[in-house]
């Protein structure tokens, strides 16, 4: 008989180890899944985790790691602030779309004028768009006590429809021969979020992600507000006695995560993706939830987790073209990772004891 015994303090060692154990378990379970699909499991796992880094074409895939990882880390950092305080923004996908629309809209408004200030204005507009979209659930929660999980998620669907309407209407390329989608921002120099060093994958979004990691680290470890966020998550009652204002925290956490998600969307649309189109969003806002948890809601952890998740995206693409592994299999693989992580988290807070339970 296995018994659970609550640890007096969460184990630090297990807290660090669980993500690694979860990744290993996911590799095994994922391998089984690939075997069921009739693919060589060892080859599939090797393709996903090894090929992008050290394979024959690694010089092409390594920059991709930054391109995919940047937005994931940027969004996940924002989400982690709220998640720590028990404020659940799961509508990052919507804020990402709105950030992209605002950013691209600002850039396209200047077309074809070329000037240095266009790109900074787009960055501001993108951040504003994401922030604005996140303020809806935040204000509703503060003012009416509405559940932020449901509102932020509903707004994803609203944003997707809005995106469709924009790419078919207002932002449509007038020289696009009637095809949906905006002008390509990659061909509009002032608005193009190009690689800082050509071919490195290092664009402004990656820089922003790194800055966000540093800011979040300082905020959480050295700043009163960060302390309040952590306190609210760990002991909400104590936090209230200590004078933490829940409303301020909600507005800050949702606002910051919306802003970062908006920035991610703006950098994506002006860089790697290039144009606003009906389905330019690829679910980064949802995958970032996995990244945030996999990184243990810790800025440095999130950076590593973002890299790993980017790896599965790229490796998944390679496995798709080389081995015919369906892209949905990678989605399942990513979902499994979160499962195993949550399951193994048990070991952080509890001890497993063998033996019969004693009678109290």
């Amino acid at each position: 008989m296995i018994r659970l015994e609550k640890r007096p303090q969460p184990s630090r060692a297990w807290s660090m180890a669980t993500p690694l154990v979860a990744v290993l378990a996911t590799m095994i379970a994922g391998g089984l899944l690939f075997a069921i699909l009739g693919k060589d499991p060892v080859e599939a796992i090797r393709t996903i985790f090894w090929e992008p880094l050290f394979g024959e074409f690694a010089f092409y895939y390594r920059p991709q790691l930054l391109i995919k990882g940047g937005p994931l880390v940027l969004i996940a950092i924002g989400l982690s602030l709220g998640f720590r305080a028990g404020i659940w923004n799961i509508g990052a996908e919507g804020q990402y779309i709105m950030g992209a629309l605002f950013g691209a809209g600002m850039g396209l408004a200047f077309y074809p004028h070329e000037a240095w200030y266009i790109f900074p204005l787009m960055v501001l507009a993108g951040a504003f768009g994401g922030w604005l979209w996140a303020m809806i659930p935040a204000l509703l929660k503060v003012r009416f006590g509405t559940n932020e999980i449901l509102v932020s998620l509903m707004l994803v669907y609203v944003a997707e429809q809005f995106l469709a309407s924009m790419s078919l209407g207002l932002l449509k390329n007038p020289e696009g021969f009637g095809f949906p989608g905006s002008r390509n921002l990659q061909q509009y120099e002032s608005a193009h979020n190009a690689d800082l060093i050509a071919g490195s994958g290092m664009h402004w979004g990656v820089v922003a992600a790194l800055i966000a990691v540093i800011f979040a680290y300082v905020l959480l470890n050295r700043h009163m507000l960060g302390y309040q966020i952590r306190l609210t998550g760990e002991a909400p009652r104590a936090a209230r006695f200590a004078g933490v204002k829940p409303a301020r925290l909600i507005l800050f956490c949702l606002g910051a995560s919306g802003m970062l998600a908006g920035l991610a969307g703006m950098f994506e649309v002006s860089g790697p993706s290039g144009q606003v189109s009906i389905d330019f969003n690829v679910g980064y806002g949802f995958t970032a939830i996995i990244v945030a948890f996999l990184g243990r809601l810790h800025p440095v952890g999130i950076m590593l987790a973002g890299g790993l998740m980017a790896l599965t995206y790229i490796g998944g693409d390679i496995a798709q073209s080389n081995m015919g592994l369906p892209s949905a299999a990678i989605q399942v693989f990513q979902g499994m990772l979160l499962f195993f992580l949550l399951a193994f988290d048990l070991l952080t807070n509890f001890r497993l004891r063998l033996g019969k339970p004693e009678v109290a």
Binding site: I149, M154, A164, F333, L342, L346
Partner: protein, 306 residues
């Protein structure tokens, strides 16, 4: 624009069809939440049920068997949630989210070879005389059997929660799990059963979309209905009949906006398609002032330490 093309009788009849997936998923989730568990994985369980039911119906030729398998698939997926929250003591919000992400991926994987296939049709019941009545006939007596099952299930859940001992125990577990544990009720076991029931209902709701309402399989076809079902439980302040009312209201919004799209109203299609989600938010805002009827232990994990 031609509003006269909208036939009110057909409108009400299709409203009931549109409401049924929501109703099934929401009453299932209501039972889960009454036991004090918040399962945010409804969307994932619905979409898994949708493809499991669809595949079974296509392979076997029997839609009814499809619904049975969909219920099993939904319950099977919810088992993962039960393991995470009841044994591994994982956070319920995070576990529910992971269930949705996993379910969306899994369904896409399972559904690859079923895109563009038409499922076998579910026969509408036909009662002589009654079904042939004008107006009343098509609205009340001309639907498929699952639609009536949904309404009957709502009634049954209402009766069980209100009048039976099982319902009382379920509510006790949801209101105060420590007290229920002290009285000797198996909190974890009861919650697991509730979670499985909710999963089965969500699975059937999903299958209703893929087999009857649409009927075909497309990736991500539940399009947030699982989340609206969650909102519906809040909207209904955890009361089964109000879930029915809410489901019909949202079904109505969906059907009316589709009809307006078809009639070519001057509002762009995208803005009409937003309306169910926007209305969900508005309703949530109006009704979230009153939280008194929420089960007191909702979302809190139970660990028998003594």
């Amino acid at each position: 624009m031609d509003l006269s093309a909208i036939n009110p009788v057909l409108l009400i009849a299709s409203l009931m069809v549109a409401a049924t997936p929501l109703l099934l998923a929401a009453v299932g989730e209501l039972v889960v939440e009454k036991s004090g568990v918040l399962n945010l994985g409804v969307e994932g369980m619905m979409i898994t049920g949708a493809i499991a039911g669809f595949a079974t119906a296509v392979e076997s030729g029997s839609p009814l068997l499809g619904f049975v398998v969909a219920a099993i698939a939904g319950a099977a997926l919810s088992t993962l949630f039960a393991i995470l929250t009841q044994f591994a003591q994982a956070n319920q919000v995070a576990s529910g989210l992971s269930l949705t992400l996993f379910g969306l991926g899994l369904s896409a994987l399972m559904g690859q070879s079923y895109v563009g296939i038409k499922p076998p049709q579910m026969q509408d019941i036909h009662i002589p005389v009654l079904s042939d009545l004008p107006v009343v006939g098509p609205i009340l007596f001309g639907h498929d059997i699952i639609l009536y099952f949904g309404i009957a299930l709502t009634a049954a859940i209402w009766a069980v929660l209100k009048y039976s001992r099982v319902g009382l125990i379920l509510r006790a577990v949801g209101e105060n799990h420590d007290a229920a544990h002290a009285l000797g009720y198996k909190v974890v076991r009861i919650r697991i059963l509730a979670i499985l029931f909710g999963g089965a209902c969500a699975g059937m709701g999903g299958a209703y979309i893929s087999l009857i309402r649409v009927p075909q399989w497309t990736e991500g076809m539940t399009a947030g209905i699982g989340w609206i079902a969650l909102a519906l439980v809040v909207f209904a302040s955890w009361k089964p009949w109000r879930v029915l009312l809410g489901a019909y209201l949202f079904g109505g919004v969906t059907v009316v906006q589709l009809n307006l799209q078809a009639a070519g109203v001057a509002i762009p299609v995208e803005y009409l398609a937003m309306s169910p989600y926007l209305i969900t938010i508005v309703v949530l805002v109006i009704l979230s002032a009153d939280k008194s009827s929420a089960p007191a232990a909702l979302g809190r994990n139970f660990h028998a330490s003594r």
